[in-house]
Structures are given as C-alpha cells and as structure tokens.
Symmetry: C3
Subunit: 205 residues, 3 copies
C-alpha cells in the first residue's frame, strides 16, 4: 500500500501535468536502456515504480471526476486523456521490461534517434498539459507531435529494414522487433493523446 | 439463415449478459485447444458457431437501440460496450482458428495459466453484466479485471522469453507467437470492456 | 508548401467523399505493388503524394468543424470519421513503403485476392460517403464492408499459414508478414469507418 499526500485543491490541470511528468520520467528510463553497462533489471524495477506512480495519478483523476459536479471539459474526454496517457506509460514499461527479459544489449542504429523522439514528445506533452487551462497555444503542440510521429515512423521503418537485412539471427530479430515496436507504440500513443487534446479544443472553441 | 426466438421484453441488461455468456462459452473452447488429443478442426467449427451466436446478440442490441426511445445509458456507450464484447470474441476465435490452421499441439509452459486468466476474466464479465442495472458493486469488477490483465501481461512476457530462448525453430516461434498474442489481445479487450463499464458508471454517478 | 483552391461552399459531405476518393487512389497504388516489374520507389513516392492530399482534406474537415456553428452530426463523430479514414491511408502507405523498403517482389498466393478486397471496400466507402447527406441506404454499406472484412480475414489467415509452412526463409517470412498485416490493418480500419458511419446513423435515427 502506497500513501501519498495530495493537496486538496489539486485540479484536473495539475493532475494531467503530473501524469505527463511521469511520462518524462519513463522516457528517461527508456533512454538509459541504451547504455550497454546499465543494469536492466534495476531499470525495470524503476520503471515499475514510475508506472505505479502514474496509476496513482490516473486513479486520482477518476476520483476527482466522480466527486466534481462541473468538470472543465466533458467527463468522457477527461477519461480518454487519462487513459491515453496511461497507455503511453504501459508501452514504455514494455520497452524496458522486454530489454531486461530478453537480455538485449545491442540495438539497431536508429534506436537512439527513436528514443530521442520519444523523449521530445514526452517533454512537449508535459509542457502542453498546463495550457489546457487556457486552451491557448495548443495548435503548435499537436502539429509538433504529429511531426515527431512522422519522424518516428521513418526511424521505425529504417530499423525494420536493418533488422531484416540478414545481419541478425532470427531470434535476435524477433527480440529487437518487439522492443522497437513497443517504442513505436509509445510514440503513436503520444500522438493519440495529442489528438484527444485537439478534439477537446475543437469542442471548446 | 438462422432463426431465433427472442422474448419481446429482452432488455439491454439481458442482451449484454447473453453476450458475455457467449464469451464464457468461447473461453471454454479456447481451453480445450490445450488438450493435445482435441480435434482442432471441430473446435474451430464450434468456435465459429459461438461467434455467430455472439453476432446475433450484437445485432439484437443494435436493433434495440434503434427502436428504443429512452435507453438506460448513452447510445454511444451501449454501442461501445457491444462492440467491445464482440472484439473479445473475435480474438478468441483467432486463437482457435490459428491453432487449427497451423496444426499446433504443444504450447509454452505458461499458456495453460494464461488461458485460465482468460476464463476467469470472461466469467467475471458475465457476472458483472446484470449489475449494470443497479450500477452497484461494479468497482470490484474492474479492479479484478485490471489485476487479471496485469497477471496476463506477466504470463505473456514469460511466454515470449520462453519462445525466444532458442528452444524452438523459427517457424514454430512465429506460429506460437501469433496464438499467444491473440490470447493476450482477448484479455486486453476484456480490460477495455471493463474500462467502458467504468466510464458508464462514472457518467451515471 | 502546397496550395489548393477549395470552393468556399465545400460541405462535410463533399470533404468526406473527397477523403474516401483518396483511399480509392491509395488502393490502386497498393494494387500496382503486385506487378513484379513495377518501380516500387516510384510507387512509394506516389503513395506519399496521395497521403499528403488526404492530410489536406483531413485538415479542411477539422477547419470546417471549427468554423461551423451547426454541424450536420456531432463534432466528435465528424472527428472520428475523418481520423478513421486517415488511418486507412496510413496503413496503405505502410504496405507500399514496406514493399519498397524490403525490396519484396513475390507475394503469397492469396495476396492478389486480398488487395481486391481492399479495393472493393475502398470503392464502397467512396460510394457511401455522399449518402451521409440523406442517411439512406447506409445499411447495405456496412453489411457489405463487414462481409468483405470477413473475407479479408480468411485470406489473411490463409496467407499466414502459407508463410509459416516452411517454404520461405525466416527473414522473408518476417518481411511478407509485415506487408500482409498492413493490408489486413487497412481493411480493418475500413470496417471501423463503416462502424462509425453506423453509429452516426444510429444517433440520427
């Protein structure tokens, strides 16, 4: 059982920002997987903690929805945003867990660039969350996330071509493919969060 | 053409319960795939029947939405719940079909435990559906489904590590990976159903 | 920077029809991948153009939602339909890109039949979009799309069984599996579009 002191007045904006900050932490842990010296099991344990912290925040959001009469935007959208952010965390955890489980220490060339895309998209999301309050300057957020997702897509395909090129053994390809696909899924999930934000803004406009 | 006598007064709660009962049937057929003596083609035919029965129920729900002026909860949510339950059935069918098609008779160690997770989650869903009427005691349903999904996740990763460990031939790995992933997708889809139920309860509260 | 003359009075119906017409173009490019003589890199470039044109249409739809006081159906549904159509295009692009990237020239037997399913579903979607105006004769659209999706499912499983049968090298299997799965995902995404149309019709009825 984890306890947590939470200020009574924590708002939806605070909680979404807190949630996105967990993603920044998660992306940082993913980045450390690249270090061949890193203790993957220790990283997986840290990731597990970050994921639990994110779960706490998600539950705080759901609880706040339940106890609030007038919500700043539609209840369904609050729910969609919370669960979208939670999805990102789940995929990040899958990256780190798989790397630990399979004992992978070498990655395709574009993997480092791809993890940077994940980190930048996580940072942008954390910066955008407080702006939900005013609904201002959110256009640039989802435009940039969409651009990053396209960049991630190109990295992803380059890595797959690299994996299938005959330089790796079949089992190694399968292991790396799983990890590479989980990073891609995390980036896609961040785009999906940006799309939810866009939809909320469209409704409010 | 299938005919079906359906009582005029069948309610949404009855139909959702009927739908979830099809999932209990489906999970039972999936469990029989584990038996190396089982006739996989016969199981695939049974699964096909169960899937058609589930389709009938889905269409009955859609028809009832169309002909009902006041629905017990939002039309979109009824639709989301029906299509979520339908997704579970599709993944279950994929498990049995793939096992028959690929002629697979041996499974990774944790597969039996994973199929049990699927059966327990299906049973819980069938027990929860009638409670939509009162919206009571649904918290424990989605908490337990989430717990099961986490357990399923651990089983899934253990099976993948086992598959990639060098004990299987590459083609065998690919076949088993497909089957194992379809079970995982069915469990995830059950979690998604539980999330929809949670969303409905949040709105109604 | 692309410029585009767009008539002021372009309606949602026109834009959705335009969007679905991009899918017809995309499916046509996918079909040309089957020709072993085709210049895959040139096809990938054409697909990229088609995908950009589809993006333009998507943005025109979002812009129209933002500047329209009374929309013909719920804003969320307009958004869901636009992003669903966009998903189809993304998967089609993935098919062509992967074929070019991996240098694949031979495909499993059922691949030609599967691409025909994709083309027929795209054509049906383009024909259905103008009917959103009257909401008439849409039932046959989603019934037929569902039938096509089932046919696609059978093709897909047959191709996987073929791939895993030991006739291909492991790396070749992985390349073809990616391509085959992207076609399947495009067909599934078209079914999801049809489901969204069904949901809109249910609400309006």
């Amino acid at each position: 059982m984890r306890f947590r002191i939470r200020p009574v007045e924590a708002s939806f904006y605070d909680l979404f920002t807190e949630m996105a900050n967990h993603l920044v932490t998660g992306a940082g842990i993913v980045a450390r997987v690249l270090d061949p010296e890193a203790d993957k099991t220790a990283l997986a344990a840290q990731m597990n903690d970050a994921e639990h912290a994110a779960d706490d925040t998600t539950h705080a959001i759901i609880k706040l929805v339940n106890s609030t009469f007038i919500t700043p935007f539609d209840r369904e959208d609050i729910y969609a945003l919370a669960s979208g952010l939670d999805d990102v965390m789940d995929y990040m955890e899958e990256v780190v867990d798989s790397a630990a489980l399979y004992g992978v220490t070498e990655f395709p060339d574009a993997f480092a660039a791809q993890v940077q895309v994940l980190q930048r998209a996580s940072n942008l999301t954390a910066e955008a969350m407080p702006r939900l309050r005013t609904m201002k300057d959110l256009d640039e957020f989802w435009i940039e996330i969409n651009r990053l997702e396209n960049e991630g897509d190109r990295n992803h395909r380059r890595m797959l071509a690299d994996l299938f090129d005959g330089n790796y053994k079949a089992m190694q390809v399968l292991k790396l493919k799983d990890i590479v696909e989980a990073v891609e899924a995390a980036i896609d999930a961040l785009e999906s969060v940006a799309n939810t934000v866009e939809q909320i803004a469209v409704k409010e406009s």
